[in-house]
């Protein structure tokens, strides 16, 4: 019998059935892939498995016993959420062992030295480069991600470890570190539940899989018996064409042709130096690089969110005011941040307010905002971008990540931008929604919008961008024509091994 066994599990929310009739078997010593599109019910299932929600119907058995009768059983299940939930101003060691009683560090007196000595063992095992006494805010994002996994494992009762997109902000080599840790757990007679939208990772690490769609289990089995196409078909209900590309037909064929819409000259900021490039009307210009290469900082500086040290930008040949986001928006530039939570949504506000905020010029009359106009516009946008929500008055935090992203994109599109900067637009987004976002970008470019796409996924850049600019450690290391450049050259530029100005 499986260690964790779920039968006919269901959970209702007012007006929606989030999960229905789900079966799941998690066996020790194996990695179980939990797959599904955004909003398929993965988060709800995880919350039921960790005891955060109570089931509306069905049963959960942990080690053959019912956690509804003995909540202590939930201690066997550890969950590492996608977002970082560390305490930035506390030390690595403290973060590792919080909550202290669970990790055997409870009691009246707090022994910092013992805590840090013990922490070192975990840091070694997980390959975390930081020292136990370092403050978490000073260590790298990948170390933080690993620290979060390590923290879950300091729970002495942990048997099942649920990892929700643990690799979404990691580079290839850091992903390998996470995978080594996961393999270590397999030997230790633990079970891993792995949630990811990255197909290569899922097939590299998974033993078993369960696919959810619209809150129901649609398929389960051994990874060896399926393939990428099969898994995606199960998740989306239809086949996805992997070979489809989304490079706009309107893109100027070479770098020297086509009208420039945005010109950046020698721009220097806090985390980048001497960046110059030209964006042309109707093209999608890709920006490749590692996390921390300075791409987001460049974009946020052009947009006016961060201050520039030197350099200049012109739009349609006219000089551009740096440092003023409202001027940028007024001139038709929009920036969609990778940090949806921090820079995108207004969490306590409804979907209607979140979208409505951007379109008051369309909904206000002489007596203020017209509620009926706003409702009509917002419901048009919800329909046009297929945003799944029970009602426009629902708070946006209750929507899945993909639907939040679609709301933000829909809100931006409603302002008919001329230059649009997408920063990691498909982070944490499922395969089919990704394709929808690519199509939107392509259509906009063909309508004459200039688009910048910042992405860490080489595949995404190759599919969408006609030109790719590579950055490494705050400097531009190359500019490439996508068609004429192979992956090795691009990867070389990303790692800064060669200065290259091909094509």
């Amino acid at each position: 019998m499986a260690f964790l066994e779920v039968r006919k599990l269901g959970r209702d929310f007012p007006g929606v059935t989030a999960l229905n009739d789900v079966d799941l078997d998690i066996e020790l010593g194996r990695v179980h892939i939990l797959a599904g599109e955004n909003g398929a019910g993965k988060s709800t299932l995880v919350k039921l498995l960790t005891g955060a929600y109570h089931p509306s119907r069905g049963t959960i058995r942990i080690d053959g016993r019912d956690p509804a009768e003995d909540a202590e059983l939930f201690r066997n299940i550890a969950y590492v959420p996608q977002e970082l939930t560390l305490f930035p101003h506390m030390s690595v060691a403290e973060n590792l062992f919080i909550p202290f009683d669970r990790s055997g560090h409870g009691g009246a007196r707090f022994d910092r030295r013992r805590l840090e000595a013990e922490a070192q063992e975990y840091l070694d095992r997980f390959g975390i480069a930081a020292r136990p006494s370092d403050l978490v805010r000073t260590i790298s994002v990948s170390d933080q991600q690993l620290l979060q996994i390590a923290r879950a494992s300091t729970n002495k009762d942990m048997k099942v470890l649920i990892l929700d997109e643990p690799t979404s902000s990691l580079t290839r080599s850091e992903v390998d570190r996470v995978f080594r840790v996961i393999s270590g757990f397999k030997d230790g007679n633990h079970a891993i539940v792995f949630i990811s939208h990255k197909m290569d990772e899922v097939f590299a690490i998974g033993d078993d899989y369960t696919v959810l769609r619209n809150g129901e289990k649609v398929e389960a089995g051994r990874m060896s018996e399926t393939d990428v196409g099969g898994l995606i078909r199960a998740m989306s209900g239809k086949a996805v064409d992997f070979e489809e590309t989304f490079r706009p037909a309107s893109a100027p064929s070479t770098q020297t042709q086509g009208p420039a819409i945005l010109e950046v000259r020698n721009l220097t900021g806090d985390r980048f130096r001497d960046v110059s490039f030209t964006l042309k009307r109707g093209e999608i210009l890709g920006f490749a690089g590692l996390v921390g290469a300075g791409r987001s900082e460049v974009m946020q500086t052009i947009f006016g969110f961060l201050g520039a040290k030197s350099g200049n930008v012109s739009l349609d040949g006219k000089p551009w005011t740096l440092g003023d986001t409202s001027a940028a928006v007024k001139n038709g530039m929009l920036y969609l941040s990778e940090e949806r939570k921090h820079h995108g949504i207004f969490p306590l506000m409804s979907v209607r307010d979140n979208i409505g905020l951007a379109i008051y010029d369309q909904t206000s009359g002489p007596f203020g905002i017209s509620a009926s106009k706003e409702k009509t516009r917002v419901s048009d946008i919800i329909a046009a971008y297929d945003i799944k929500t029970a009602s426009m008055n629902k708070e946006i935090v209750f929507l899945s990540g993909g639907n939040q992203q679609k709301a933000i994109i829909g809100r931006a599109m409603a302002r008919t931008p001329r230059v649009l900067i997408f920063d990691e637009p498909t982070k944490g987004i499922d395969v089919r929604t990704k394709t929808e976002i690519y199509r939107i970008m392509k259509r906009l470019a063909e309508d004459g919008v200039g688009i910048i796409l910042v992405s860490s996924e080489m595949d995404e850049l190759r599919k969408c961008a006609s030109r790719i600019i590579a950055m490494h450690a705050g400097e531009v290391t190359g500019s490439f024509d996508t068609e004429a450049t192979d992956n090795e050259t691009l990867v070389g530029a990303i790692f800064g091994t060669e200065k290259n100005h091909a094509a």
Binding site: P14, T325, H342, L348, A358, F367, G368, I369
Partner: protein
């Protein structure tokens, strides 16, 4: 889902505080025969007018995610400046009063400007400016009230309009203005957006700094208005005006559903909160509670009121959700 009118009413975020207000009003009417008299109600309404204006100001700032602890002091300083202008410099009220209002707006602007341009924490900054503004008040008056305020302005403090105290009417007009701004104009909606997530608001192209400064300015103006009405009510410009306008409006806002973390609540809810506190204070006086005990009793009832509201909200969320 079809919902009946009652559940719609309960779903309104103001339902909890409104229920508490009605309950406290009803209890007061039952336990004291003097509560429902015209005279007593007008006393309550008049008192609510002054604290209410500051509450509108403070709740607007809280929605924006800011706080101004100098609002009461601004009211006091503008009151004595108006008094000085009229009494010592012989300026006509039509000139002196607008000047004092302008001063209030300027002091609020100064707070907002420092918060925006230097990125200061408004709580800490306004502890400082409250000290400065209060100090100017004492330097100007040496702690002595200014008497002989022209009689013609007393109508603003003591007069009635169709039986309703004039300052209360003025407060209602300001409440209507603030509510309209908050609910129906882009400016007001951006206030909520900034209170919710200032970085995201900037990313949207909202002029965050400008809105911040304007709300601080508006708050300073409302506090000055409260101070002037108080001078008109008392007939003297007391340096101590506004001393008690610091914590009350914050408590009223929170009781009325305004989150101290920003982005949530309405000025109307905050006024309901102020009315709850006002009625409690009134009933304590009607019962002849010893002044030494008044603080304990009114404080305890405030704690009860917000606890009741929190519990009922949790219950509604579970039942309704």
């Amino acid at each position: 889902m079809r919902r009946n009118p009652l559940s719609l009413l309960l779903a309104n975020p103001l339902a909890g505080v409104f229920a508490v207000l009605v309950a406290i009003f009803a209890i007061s009417a039952l336990v004291s025969p003097y509560f429902l008299t015209g005279y007593n109600l007008s006393v309550v309404a008049r008192a609510l007018a002054f604290i209410g204006l500051v509450t509108i100001a403070q709740s607007s700032l809280l929605i924006l995610g800011e706080l101004d602890l100098s609002l009461g002091v601004i009211g006091g300083l503008c009151g004595v400046v108006a008094g000085l202008l009229m009494v010592n410099y012989g300026l006509a009220p039509v000139i002196a009063l607008p000047l004092a209002l302008l001063l209030g707006a300027a002091l609020g602007f100064f707070n907002g400007f420092l918060v925006s341009s230097l990125g200061l924490h408004s709580l800490v900054l306004t502890i400082g400016t409250a000290g400065v503004y209060g100090g100017i008040n004492l330097v100007l008056t040496r702690g002595v009230a200014i008497t002989n305020i022209p009689r013609e302005i007393q109508v603003f403090g003591r007069g009635d309009l169709f039986g309703v105290p004039v300052p209360f009417v003025i407060m209602l007009v300001m409440l209507a203005l603030a509510s309209y701004l908050a609910a129906k104009t882009p400016f007001g909606r951006y206030m909520y957006a900034i209170g919710n997530n200032p970085a995201a608001a900037r990313m949207l192209g909202v002029k965050v700094d400008r809105i911040r400064v304007l709300v601080f300015t508006f708050a300073g103006f409302l506090s000055a208005l409260a101070g002037l009405l108080m001078v008109a009510r008392l007939g003297t410009a007391q340096p101590s005006i506004g001393e008690t306008w610091v914590l009350g409006p914050i408590a009223a806002s929170v009781i009325g559903g305004v989150a101290t973390t920003g982005g949530v609540g309405t000025p109307l809810g905050a006024i309901f909160g102020a009315a709850i506190i006002g009625i409690i204070e009134n009933i304590i006086v009607l019962f002849g509670v010893s002044p030494y005990w008044q603080g304990i009793v009114s404080g305890a009832i405030v704690v009860l009121a917000i606890s009741f509201d929190a519990v009922s909200r949790r219950y509604l969320r579970k039942g309704g959700a």
